[in-house]
Symmetry: C2
Subunit: 441 residues, 2 copies
Amino acid sequence: MVAPLRVGIAGLGTVGAEVVRVIERQERTLSARCGRPVRVVAVTARSKAKKRGLDLSGIKWAKSPLAIATDPEVDCFVELIGGAGDPAGPAIEAALAAGKAVVTANKALIAKHGLKLASLAEKHNAALNYEAAVGAAIPVIKTLREGLAGTDIDRIYGILNGTCNYILTRMEQEGLSFDDCLADAQRLGYAEADPTFDIDGHDTAQKLAILASLAFGTKVSESSVYVEGIRSITPEDLRAADDLGYRVKLLGVAVRTAKGIEQRVHPTMVPKTSSIAQVMGVTNAVSIDGDGIPPITLVGAGAGAAATASAVVADIADVARGIRAVPFGRPVAGLKATGKAPMQRHEGGYYLRLLARDHAGTAATIAKRLAEQDISIESIVQRHPNRSVDANGKAAKSSVPVPVILITYATAEDAVRRALQAVQRDKVISGRPQVIRIEKN
Amino acid sequence: MVAPLRVGIAGLGTVGAEVVRVIERQERTLSARCGRPVRVVAVTARSKAKKRGLDLSGIKWAKSPLAIATDPEVDCFVELIGGAGDPAGPAIEAALAAGKAVVTANKALIAKHGLKLASLAEKHNAALNYEAAVGAAIPVIKTLREGLAGTDIDRIYGILNGTCNYILTRMEQEGLSFDDCLADAQRLGYAEADPTFDIDGHDTAQKLAILASLAFGTKVSESSVYVEGIRSITPEDLRAADDLGYRVKLLGVAVRTAKGIEQRVHPTMVPKTSSIAQVMGVTNAVSIDGDGIPPITLVGAGAGAAATASAVVADIADVARGIRAVPFGRPVAGLKATGKAPMQRHEGGYYLRLLARDHAGTAATIAKRLAEQDISIESIVQRHPNRSVDANGKAAKSSVPVPVILITYATAEDAVRRALQAVQRDKVISGRPQVIRIEKN
């Protein structure tokens, strides 16, 4: 009999407990698939007394994550504590320094300290697997790290945060406000009490930074990502998008440009016919455009104990089988630095929604200011909601601002910003213009 | 410097030539990703003189596939000849017997002789990689073999043949007949001059047999798959499906049932809202339902030189990195035999389209025969196309048969067959009833 892989798990929340259960339930399958048994030999968590519905007899209870990470009877350290700092970080470092394989679901830690950990892993010839950190059981890390090893990637983009997609889906389908949908998401457990990290795009940014590193060979760097959340999206935007053949999704996009790798997270209009537009509710999806290859799209649950545990156990199985790629697909020394995406130079189509003061000629003024910046208009829609019509069929004057919606052809973002500043100086619009970037297939 | 992986390629068609190009173009990336250079050292093809736009200087031209397979200066044998027989089969066997890693895109060979080849690979401790055999660059083999190693799979189903999906998409979107769409597909190069293998479902069956083996640990066996093609599908079926909220796709489905693993290929009605229903044209897709996990869906091109070469190069990169799982995920000795799906015992919903002779009471007769077999009807639609109405508003008698469309709740297939036989004996319908199985999410 080949020696079993001895696994130590730090963190027994819903994911950690499910990992213990799956390894036990799948004992024979895992042993057949890996050519050796996989056994949980040590665990730890904040409270030993907590009821988890787990039979932990025969498994050592360690006094700390660090104790497991340095236990000579543990081959593979599984970190399911979370958080970019103590105790997760030091424990992983200790495990790698001891030459142990590490499996983690900790996206914050990989996004913030992935480079340092990857260097340590390389130095000590240890595995560092983190499939569960992005998209749970969707095999996106493996696909980028191994499956597309010979493919030049041009763009990778995806819906990486279920909370935001749930909110946008409800807003679109039921015409509800952002605040109402957020409250519902919180009630259903899809959003945290403090939802900032999700809805302002930071969760998506951390995941994107990891995917960009794997796709483009850049140094993983959360701070290189331009981030904009979904708070400003209104039901009016979603209705207008629908009329124009689009949906609004919070996308993380990393794309190869002439100026380097651009990484950005923002609400994005995508054609309704695209694969990514079909992804509704808490589901996640990632599309990968390889050189000369039609896009590959991976869709599935981005969270949940069973889906996350599935990815963690697959990572453990890779360790048991001796399957190992370097953490970011290429040696750390070969990863390139990347700067923050200069969004003023971003090139693309734009959706603009302006509230025109209802003077004749407002649309003409807006069109003139756009033309001055060489911006071509693909479509323009002016709506006159509930406006009364006089006996001659002429529209009555009204002081209520009227939305004007424009879709531009591809242009540079700074040109759009300059045109909108000019329109605001002209005093023909009320309030702040809404600007949503468009991502075509 | 680590020794390079020396690759020998048999077959220089569009895929083989693209593999040579990619390995050259990606030389530095591959070397960084694999920790060692990847070099093509030998090639062979039927004609040496043929123009391929390849610079083969410095690469040995071998006299046969077998010569490459047994060349001591080749570490990895790449078979891109195709066909389940000679010369592909014997060459792969020779390479494995010599302990060489084998990479192939040959689905027919893996479906028919995969078990024998996997035994050889195990015996000689050699890799046998075949990602390109199913879904080209869609990483479905890797996902099943490695990515879901710890997950019990309940069902796997997919659109595995681009030709059929192209034909069904055109029929649906343009109301065209099967024959017209097939002719177009042939003109555009999406279908062979002899389209039988694709449209009668055999290509899908071979791919499904491979996926089922990886998903369920069964012995790969094409002959265990129940197969029905798309020739019988009419524009009327697609219109009726649309009205009822469905689309028709040729699916390969492998599912765990109380009676064992059921493998089947047939036209299938899927809810329009499902991920798989969104897959149009030549695109392929695979959905995997794991125990307790929301479905994972992988979408992408299922054919094409660049997409296929991407998968072949990824398989070669895995060999270079020493990443290796046994060919079917589990040792051959642990794979279970599986019998042909007994479709008469298949349980599911059914779409039935009957041509009723226009006697009063035909629908009642049909409903009675279904009720006798304990089949519950979810919906029934009777259409009276272009029927004249007399001066009193009553429908005029007509001798033109009228379609009656029924959707049943889940029932056993033999009950449906018995009910339809009774209806035929009642002589209230014309011609053969159309029966399409329904696959719900």
